[in-house]
């Protein structure tokens, strides 16, 4: 009988934290998982709603001014609803989906520290959500500036700063919703309430509590970087400087993601077997 030993035995790693091959494989598979199925296509189509709204308005004649459209659709609809909803859809099910589909076992049994598993999967959600945000932003900017002769370069020039602001927001949103997914059995409902009540309400009120939202620093950065002036009750002159906004968003993302890693490391996931199901 032939030997079962594979020709390439597992290399002896200094520490499982240096299992970069495992982490990169997990990143790739998580991205493939997230881009499969109905949920992804729903998310992709939803991301194109702002561009579709502009296109429909344009087909009706008399398109509104570009700045006004940009404020309403990009910093209103997208920033306040679509961006956080995308993060919620992707991040809240990162671990729960693996538990439901009973595939988490294959990850937990490998020489990968649990926080690394969680953070790698979170990174996949962040990358994909940023990609979707960039696509949606480019599509809507292209639609807004469709009449401009150099529309492509204009759209690209405005997509860059907006995507950067959204990316910072998505870091924090994904970290928050990833943690919710670890703590709650049904994180989607709580996530929607968080988006509508906390973010949607407080970020629009000119009061100190708006600084506790993710949306506020995202809008401050986007308004400044696109030179759009004061909107959403935000006085850019008195708003926090860019560095503070960036530090806030990155800080929230790092702290909450680390907390998520810690929670995941200490959590037990009892696998449903035919006898326990």
């Amino acid at each position: 009988m032939t030997q079962l030993h594979p020709p390439h035995p597992t290399p002896s790693l200094r520490s499982p934290w240096w299992n970069l091959s495992g982490a990169s494989a997990l990143l790739g598979v998580t991205l493939r998982r997230l881009t499969r199925g109905q949920r992804f296509w729903t998310g992709l189509l939803t991301a194109l709603i702002p561009a579709a709204i502009v296109a429909i308005g344009r087909s009706q004649g008399q398109p509104p001014p570009a700045d006004e459209t940009e404020i309403d659709l990009v910093l209103g609809l997208m920033a306040q609803v679509l961006v956080p909803i995308t993060a919620l859809a992707l991040a809240s099910g990162l671990i729960q989906d693996e538990v439901e589909e009973q595939t988490l076992t294959y990850l937990l049994l490998r020489p990968l520290p649990r926080p690394l598993i969680y953070l790698t999967k979170l990174a996949a959600a962040i990358l994909l959500s940023i990609g979707l945000a960039a696509l949606a932003t480019f599509a809507v900017e292209l639609a807004i500036h469709a009449d401009t002769p150099d529309r492509l370069s204009v759209a690209l020039n405005r997509t860059g700063p907006l995507t950067a602001a959204f990316a910072l927001g998505l870091l924090a949103y994904n970290a928050v919703f990833g943690l919710l997914g670890l703590l709650l059995k049904k994180p989607q409902g709580v996530g929607v309430l968080y988006i509508l009540l906390l973010e949607g309400t407080f970020a629009n009120i000119d009061f100190i509590i708006r600084r506790a939202t993710i949306l506020y620093p995202v809008r401050v950065l986007a308004l400044r970087w696109l030179h759009l002036g004061d909107h959403f009750n935000i006085n850019l002159a008195s708003a926090p400087p860019d560095a503070e906004c960036i530090a806030t968003l990155v800080g929230v993302a790092v702290v909450v993601a680390a907390l998520g890693g810690l929670v995941f490391a200490r959590s037990e996931f009892k696998v449903k077997t035919p006898e326990t199901a």
Binding site: P6, V29, L109, R114
Partner: protein, 315 residues
């Protein structure tokens, strides 16, 4: 048998390990040392086998006590992942992957670079008989192919300790035979294997060293022959088939060593429980001759490990 002395060469060790799920006991103060070689983990559904394996593979944290594998704490110990492999019971995969992609992914998770992972995956899939199908999506695999794929991912990183949770479930006799050969070879290569099953003859076909658990407790541990010896402390069950069923039962119930008699009308047999099977067998010929009774068929209901298991669990 089932003594509590620490086994110096134990590969897997449970020291007063308990696991509770709220008020439900999954495993109760288990003291057990599993040596190298193949050990069968036996118990009915819900006995605690899966909890045992999830504790041993570090997926669950013991509520009390300690679980070690190869001298290392099992719970949340990623370094141990290099040395253990698990063929899980649940029939779950990334269905959209091909068998080769899935096993290579598992190899990469174990730390191999992509090229080495692909090579290792192909080798182990060839060994488990999936070479011809490894480029097909798993969602199209038969039950036997899925079991082989699970076994392949458990072996791909060449672990020292292999946990197999009901690996033969749902397979046809041919596949079962092939899987048993693969498991035996894995043990012959020097691996320690814990094989969980509720089908006793499957385990008997692979190993004679078994651990029996029920209701989260250790019922018995040792060689199947040692376990069979335990029967002597429990009633033997003997089945007799006769055309004179009621007359025979009336005579048998008068025997001093007969503890109970059960008439089985559906197959025309009597199930006798006795503490002294030898004495019982000795009396039967004279009983038939003297009373003119006939016995068409006579056999012990204790011939399989299944019967041993029933006795021990019932006790």
């Amino acid at each position: 048998m089932n003594d509590q002395r620490p086994e110096p060469n134990a590969i897997i060790r449970f020291e007063g390990a308990s696991k509770w799920y709220g008020n439900v006991i999954g495993l109760n103060k288990l003291d057990l040392s599993i040596p190298s070689g193949i050990t069968g983990l036996l118990g009915p559904n819900g006995a605690g086998k899966s909890t045992f394996l999830q504790l041993a593979t570090g997926q669950l944290r013991p509520s009390q006590g300690r679980v070690t594998v190869l001298g290392q704490t099992a719970w949340n110990n990623p370094a141990l992942g290099r040395q253990i492999g698990l063929c899980p019971e649940q029939d779950a995969f990334y269905e959209w992957m091909t068998g080769r992609q899935f096993v290579a992914f598992c190899a990469q998770l174990s730390g191999m670079n992509p090229r080495a992972a692909r090579s290792a995956a192909e080798a182990v899939l060839d060994r488990v008989g999936l070479a011809a199908s490894m480029n097909r999506p798993i969602k199209g695999y038969s039950k036997g192919m899925r079991q082989r794929t699970k076994l392949a991912q458990a072996l791909v990183h060449d672990p020292q300790v292999l946990f197999l949770d009901e690996p033969l479930t749902g397979t046809d006799p041919v596949v079962r035979h092939e899987l048993i050969q693969i498991i035996r070879q894995a043990a012959a290569d020097g691996r320690t294997i814990v094989l969980s099953s509720h089908v006793l003859y499957e385990v008997e076909a692979i190993t004679s060293h078994v651990v029996l658990i029920n209701h989260g407790r250790l019922v018995a541990e040792g060689d199947t022959r040692e376990i069979r010896d335990l029967i002597d402390t429990h009633p033997h069950r003997i089945v007799l088939k006769s055309t004179t069923l009621r007359s025979l039962a009336t005579r048998l119930v008068a025997f001093p060593d007969v503890l109970g008699i059960q008439l089985r009308q559906n197959d025309g047999s009597i199930l006798v429980e006795t503490h002294q099977p030898d004495a019982f067998y000795e009396r039967l010929p004279s009983l038939c001759l003297d009373e003119g009774l006939t016995i068409d068929e006579l056999y012990s209901d204790d011939d399989s490990l299944e019967a041993v298991f029933k006795y021990l669990v019932a006790s």
